[in-house]
Structures are given as C-alpha cells and as structure tokens.
C-alpha cells in the first residue's frame, strides 16, 4: 500500500497507457468477429476451418507473436500497433466461436417472423439477428475484455509501458509490493471493464431485463379472470 501511495503518479500513467492499449483490440475483435461469424454460419464448409483456426491462434505463445508480428506487418517492435494487432488476433480467437454460436442460436421463429413481415435481408441481420444474438455477443466481449486487459501486460517485456511494467521492474528489483500492485490493478481494471460492459448490456438490451416469474404468472391469472 505504501509502495502504491509513493508511486501513485507513475502507476496512474501506466494505467492510462494500459487502457489505451487494451480498448482498441476489444473493439476491433468485436467488429471483425461479426462478419466472420456470419460467414461461418452462412457457409457450412467455412465453419470448421474458421473456428478451429480461431482456437489454434489462441495457442500461439504471445511473446514470439509480439516479436515476429512487426516483421510481418512492417512496424517497429515497440510500436503500440503491434500490441493492438496481436491482441486483436487473440481477441478474435475468443470472440469468433462465441459470435458464430450466438448468431446460430438466435431463435429461428423470430427470424422467420421478421422475414414473413417483409424485412429485407440486410436490415433483418442488423436490426433483428444481431440484437437477438446480443446476450451471447456480450458474453464474448466480456471474456475478450478481461483476457485482453490481462494480456496487455506481456508487452512490458518488449518495453511497451503498461501495468505489466510493474512486473518486470518489480521482478528485477525484487519488490514484491510492486508486482502485487500490478496484479491487483490488472484484475481490478479487468473486472471494472467487465462491470461496465454488463451495464452497457443492460442499457442496450432492455428486453433481457425480465420481470420476475411471479408477476408473469399473475398476469396470466388476471387475463384468465378478465
């Protein structure tokens, strides 16, 4: 605690750069997963390669990816773009299967109804299918958010500042408090982001806030009595 208080300014700076690095991959992996998830469902033969591929990408050790990526995309090693691209790849690996599942599990009756009412295809996808897959997509984004926040720390090994810098520095200097501070802050940041996403979901998907079963039953009774 004392350690944290004495180094508050620096830690705040790390926190800020940590967030700057974590947010773009979270957003990007969502934006990429939606069309890819749609493809995986639309074309059956694409499903297995896409989903297995996603699973395997997740198995790439992060350190070499961070080092090899700049060679491939032609950036400098310490460019934040590397971290963002690498973490987007990992995020996509987590997000894609969930997106595909979410879209596949949308109640076909609702889609059928939308079609029967005369929704054109694109509008149907954007205003019916996507929102109805919302809860699963949200679950996916939450997992991605948590794991991305945690993965950003690996960048510290390459000298990209984040809460992970507290690990590398604390380790070299043998300061346990510094490492523990880093771990706790990373977890807290991840869980805060997660909480925010849950709130966002409540706001964007009001229909998922079901009323208690009891009132529903009372409605039914009231209707029968009416």
């Amino acid at each position: 605690m004392t350690w944290l208080l004495e180094n508050l300014g620096a830690v705040a700076g790390y926190l800020a750069s940590h967030l700057t690095l974590a947010l773009p991959p979270i957003a990007l992996s969502f934006l990429l997963a939606v069309p890819l998830g749609w493809l995986a469902n639309r074309f059956r033969w694409l499903r297995t390669p896409l989903l297995t591929g996603a699973g395997l990408t997740y198995a790439i050790p992060s350190l070499p990816l961070f080092i090899v990526l700049p060679i491939i995309i032609g950036t400098q090693t310490r460019d934040p773009a590397n971290i963002i691209v690498a973490l987007t790849i990992y995020g996509l690996a987590l997000m894609l299967p969930l997106t595909a599942d979410g879209l596949r599990q949308v109640n076909p009756l609702a889609l059928d109804a939308a079609k029967a009412m005369g929704y054109p295809p694109l509008r149907r996808f954007l205003t019916v299918e996507l929102p109805l897959a919302g809860p699963t997509l949200l679950a996916g984004v939450r997992v991605v958010a948590v794991s991305t926040v945690s993965l950003v720390t690996v960048g510290a090994v390459l000298g990209i500042p984040s809460l992970g810098s507290l690990f590398t520095d604390g380790f070299q200097r043998g300061i346990l408090a510094e490492i523990v501070t880093g771990i706790i802050l990373t977890v807290v940041l991840a869980l805060l982001l997660d909480g925010l996403l849950v709130l966002l979901g409540r706001v964007l998907m009001p229909w998922t806030r079901k009323r208690p079963v009891r009132t529903q039953a009372q409605d039914a009774v009231a209707e029968v009595a009416a």
């Binding site: 620096a10 400098q76 310490r78 934040p80 510290a156 000298g159 500042p161 520095d169």
Partner: protein, 286 residues
C-alpha cells in the same frame, strides 16, 4: 526506475524545441540500473540547458538500437562488450581499450560511443562465501578443485557465449552444467545460488546483491569475460556541449558507485530520479 519519471513513456517522444541547447531524447534499457544511469545523463543535460524527454525501459538491444539508428532516441547508456558483439559477432577484442577502438569502427553511421566510464556491469562467475572457502576459490580456474560437473545458473544464451561452458572448459578445464534461468542474473538466479540449487551464478558485477549476500566473484585471469564498461551511445544530434556534460558523469562513475546506486533502488526502493540527483549533487555535478 520507471517510477521516478514524472510521466512514464507513452508513445513517441515529445521533443519540444528547447531553449539554449535544443532538445534530446534519452532512452534506457528495460533494466533499473540502466535507467538510473540514463537519468544521470538526463539531469546533467537539463542542467546544461537542453530540454530532455525520457524514453525508459525500452526492452532489449534489438528493440532500442534500431530506434537509436532511426533518430527516435539520441542518448542511451550501453555496455561496451555486448554492444560491440551486437554489431560484430566475430569481434575478438577482450580488453577495454581494444573494445573502445573496435566500437568506433563497427558502430553504424550517425552513431558514436562517448568515453566509457570506469564502472562496468558484466557477467561474472559468482559463488557463495561458504562454497569459496570450502574449496579455496578465488579465480575461475580454482573451480577444478570442486567436484565436477558444477551447476551454473545463467540465461540460456550463456551456452553460446565465449565465456560459457565450452570456453571455460577449454581455458580453465572446468566442467559446467548450465541451468538456464531467463531473468538475466535477477532474483531467480540469485536464489538458485543461495539455496544451493546451483554452485555458481552468472550475476552482473554491479548487482548490489553480491555485496549484500557476501558473495564471491571469481577472477577471470584469461579474460574470457568481455568487459562491459558503461558507455553512452549517442546520435549526431548530441553536440560537443552535450557530450561534455555526459562525459563529466562518466568520469566520476566508479564500479562501487554503480553498485551503491543500484542498492538504493533495490533496498530503499527509491526512484531513479531521486537516486540520480542525490549522487550528482554529492559529486558536485548538479
């Protein structure tokens, strides 16, 4: 210490056009000791009227040297032997003066090395006091008196170094078994030594834990181990005035000084900026 800087490095350096001496970017390795030295340079440069931006904890050589070459960084504290080997894998120089001479030749255009300090921070064969006494050890060659093979904790690349197991076998007849630990002489390596997992550890000579734990660093009469004197590498933006300021620091930086600076960071958990300014004031440089 990354925590000593007013604002930690995020993104590219802000090289504000300074008043008297222009603006310079000082970088450091991802190594607290290196950051303290960088901070020494930064503070004297500021005193000399330069506006300095700091880019600390930039990973390892393969990451920051390209940035130095491309002009994103102007000053970085380096270590002579490894720097030479980075640019010339076949270099054979082993004593400090030769290395300085070679460096001048192999550094890419636009970069130059300033005068090395007395202080160095190099690999070492370090054993515990008890082990040294038990077998009467003072130099690497004495290790033959202990039962072979001996275990040494070091980074994995130790195996490929001239002063690694093969070199030592050839030069001193000592048989070593490498236990790879990837923390570059950090707490894991130290602990492996003190808890008896290994008999020898490759610690850096400026590591304050050597003094703290009463460890014994073995002599290297055959000069297998490359000297690693603190050597600033600078870009062409560093003019004579700036170079003079930096030289003044290195002229006073001794091996003991460096160990003490490091000890302050590790034991007192002080920030690099505070450690640096205290030392500079003590030496009358600030």
């Amino acid at each position: 210490d990354p925590l000593g800087t007013a604002q930690p490095t995020t993104g590219p350096a802000t090289t504000a056009a300074g008043g008297g001496g222009g603006s310079l970017t000082v970088g450091s390795q991802q190594y607290y000791s290196n950051e303290i030295i960088a901070e020494l340079y930064a503070q004297v440069l500021e005193k000399a009227g330069f506006s300095v931006s700091r880019q600390y904890q930039i990973g390892q050589r393969e990451i920051y040297l390209p940035e130095l070459e491309s002009g994103k960084i102007d000053v970085i504290p380096e270590y002579s032997g490894n720097l030479m080997q980075y640019y010339d894998k076949a270099a054979t120089a082993t004593d400090p003066a030769e290395i300085t001479a070679t460096l001048a030749k192999v550094l890419p255009a636009g970069l130059r090395a300033l005068k090395p300090a007395e202080a160095s921070d190099q690999d070492s064969y370090t054993v515990t006091q008890a082990f040294a006494q038990q077998h009467g050890l003072s130099s690497i060659g004495d290790l033959t008196k202990a039962p072979q093979p001996l275990k040494i904790a070091a980074n994995s690349e130790f195996a490929t170094r001239p002063y690694g197991p093969e070199g030592v076998q050839k030069a001193y007849g000592v048989t070593l078994e490498l236990v790879p630990v990837e923390d570059s002489g950090g707490p894991l390596t130290l602990r492996a030594l003190t808890d008896g997992t290994v008999q020898i550890a490759d610690l850096y000579t400026a590591d304050p834990s050597i003094v703290k734990n009463n460890l014994v660093t073995l002599q290297d009469p055959e000069h297998l181990i490359l000297p690693q004197n603190v050597t600033p590498v600078v870009s062409s933006k560093v003019d004579d005035k700036a170079a003079a300021a930096i030289d003044a620091v290195d002229a006073k930086l001794t091996a003991t000084d460096l160990q003490q600076l490091n000890a302050k960071s590790v034991d007192e958990q002080a920030k690099s900026a505070d450690i640096a300014s205290a030392w500079l004031k003590e030496k009358g440089l600030l």
